[in-house]
């Protein structure tokens, strides 16, 4: 049981949660994730760690409500407990001084990008961050990203903030302007797919951090398998970061939908239940 100490809404659907997890706060590294479970009938699901405070013994998670489990987590309040929380899992980001790093984060993917940007900056790199979302209210953690970036480019689909256009537009401008030694991309699978295609065109080594379906998160189930360089790899123990140019994103997109019907049914049921409870006097 891990206590929530702080909660902040970034937007209607995106919530930041600070939770007590003293051991993980100490042992986590950039790129690691945790597995959580909310309620005794809850599902296990992964979230990449967005930050940690070893002194306070807390970690920061950012969740976007898309289904039952994320909604249940987002509905918790400070003082509530997360039933189960385990980590840190996954391989940490390989951080070293490489020169100029281009970090691209899409939507809620900006949150797990933050510790990676921080780590690369601390390792002495020039860091340029491109953060992108559909609209202004979905651009999160801009200030924190700015703190660890030499430059920040903000892109929105509708042009309500920063520049109008996709994340790849912002990335390409940077690539054309100056030498980029390595790219990091985190966000929806479809965004990472096109970001990877772009950097492949310019032959820039690129890491993508994947958010596949998982059950245990320790290598046991294989739900998270992805094809990288023609070989099946497990996101939980071999990843979550892989060479973006080697990832079969189309297969990953297909596999992300493995339980779509079941998840939709469960979510409809959950929404219905919530409404019924609200309607009760």
């Amino acid at each position: 049981m891990n206590k929530i100490v702080e909660k902040e809404y970034f937007s209607e659907k995106v919530v930041k949660i600070v939770v007590e997890a003293p051991e993980i706060a100490k042992s986590r590294k950039a790129g690691n994730f945790v597995i959580l479970r909310v309620g005794e009938k809850g599902e296990r699901f992964p979230l990449t760690i967005a930050g940690a405070d070893p002194e306070k013994g807390t970690i920061t998670l950012v969740v976007q409500t898309v289904g039952v489990s994320s909604s249940k987590l987002a509905a918790l309040h400070p003082g509530d407990f997360i039933t189960d929380l385990v980590g840190p899992l996954g391989q940490a980001t390989h951080v070293e001084k490489k020169g100029t790093i281009l970090a691209a984060g899409g939507g809620v993917g900006i949150a797990p990008m933050l510790p990676i940007v921080e780590a690369f900056k601390k390792a002495g790199n020039r860091v340029i961050s491109v953060i992108a979302a559909r609209s202004r209210d979905l651009i999160i953690l801009e200030e924190q990203i700015r703190e660890w970036s030499d430059e920040v480019v903000v892109m929105t689909d509708d042009g309500s903030y920063g520049r109008q256009g996709l994340v790849t537009t912002g990335m390409e401008e940077v690539i054309l302007r100056e030498k980029v030694d390595e790219c990091i991309v985190i966000g929806p699978a479809i965004m990472m797919k096109f970001a990877a295609l772009l950097t492949k065109k310019y032959n820039i080594p690129t890491q993508a951090s994947l958010n596949t379906i998982m059950v245990d998160g320790t290598g046991m189930c294989g739900a998270c398998r992805v094809t990288v360089g023609g070989k099946t790899r497990f996101t939980c123990v071999d990843g979550p970061e892989f060479d973006a140019h080697q990832i079969d994103f189309d297969e990953m997109l297909m596999r992300m939908g493995a339980y779509r019907n079941e998840e939709k049914q469960a979510f409809d049921h959950y929404v219905h239940q919530c409404q019924c409870q609200k309607e009760k006097p």
């Binding site: 051991e23 599902e43 296990r44 059950v215 245990d216 497990f234 123990v237």
Partner: protein
Amino acid sequence: MSIDPETIKKERSVGWREELRSKTKNKDRVAIERVHMPELEPEIRVHHQDREVNRGLTLAQATLEAIRCMDCVNPTCIEGCPVSINIPKFIKYIESGDILSAASTLKETNALPAVCGRVCPQEKQCESRCFYVEKLKKPPVAIGYLERFAADFERESGSCNIPETLPPNGIRVATVGSGPAALAFAGDMAKYGYDVTVFEALHEIGGVLKYGIPEFRLPNAIVDFELENLRKMGVKFVTNFIVGRTATFDDLKEQGFKGFFIGSGAGLPRFMEIPGENFNGILSSNEYLTRVNLMEAHSDDSDTPILRGKNVAVIGGGNTAMDSVRTALRLGAERAIIIYRRSEVEMPARVEEVKHAKEEGVEFMTLCNPVEYFADKNGRVNRMRVVRMDLGEPDASGRRRPMVIEGSEFDLDVDLVIVAVGVSPNPLVPASLPGLNVSRWGTIIVDEDKMQTSIPEMFAGGDIVRGGATVILAMGDGRRAAEHMHFFLMTK
């Protein structure tokens, strides 16, 4: 670790055992037929994931079966037991009507008797060494059924005898993992007086007993009861904790832990690496069984989703394959097929599991192997290609090597495929210990006698050492590790 023969002899010569032996002539004992396990009817049980198939013996059945045991001078059955249960002693307690003492006898050497009584392959172990089999060519005494009976009787009686422990010695030891190997280790170390903490990565204690073996074969409540016994012996349990990750081994040493037992299991499922294997609807038995057994995905109030198939193929011939295929039937499959590349004789599954699966309507396609999968436009598997096999010369495992029959391919309509072709050792723990000697398969290398690894204070056992075995062999490893870690820590 085996019981000292002198002790066995001495215990055999006590008054009540002698009286029992003289009460019934051996001629009359062997005339009794082996008991049949009462079972839930196949037509009923295929609709219930949570109802146990084997119902357990009645007191009358158990007593009669116990009379069959001749209380041999040289009880070879004990040699067949990886945890060296004093088998004649517990059976004779049953015959005498003192079932609680029978249960205590089991717990002298076995931390999980109600589990072992249900899932051990007795036909390959104790029962294969029974006098009835070795000398009389008759069905063995039903040692497994009797073990289960005694353990269940005690649990249901409400009077639970906790094994004696030596006074606390204040020395902290830890297990990595909470499956059968770790629990057996924990039980013995608690008896020696150690302060034992069991660390588990998942949110439930029990390892494969919880996530792997289905309710219809081993109810989780039974496991929980045995865990409660260990708790009463002073064993502490910590869930959601990955040793080497959440905290390092060095962190734990700083907290005073002097010895570690690694029983992290063979977590990594193997796939066949054939075309189409990553389509949706093709999953490892670990994933399928974990969703159902641990996450209760089949029940309405669980948040965890499960794929239900009408035409389900399970690849493999082990107990996990049987558990998966029988689960698929219970979750509504109209056709559930085992696809196994050798013949039924070579199947590693327990005879009882194969029998139960057949009674429930599982189809067996032996000497068949998948070669490719096909999917619909959404990427959900809808068809598989299978090739027929023939058996050649025996391979390293002693089983005849399966060989493809050219041109024998045929297609099957399937909407769910469960791959149960084995597991590899979980890399998580070995990866966090640079000094640890690991084989090229990823198993931890130990001194086979002591179960000690290349790092002296670390011992290991179960599937992380064996690569994939049984509950009882893992428990045997745990016990041996405990004995030798005790010696190591006392003489250090």
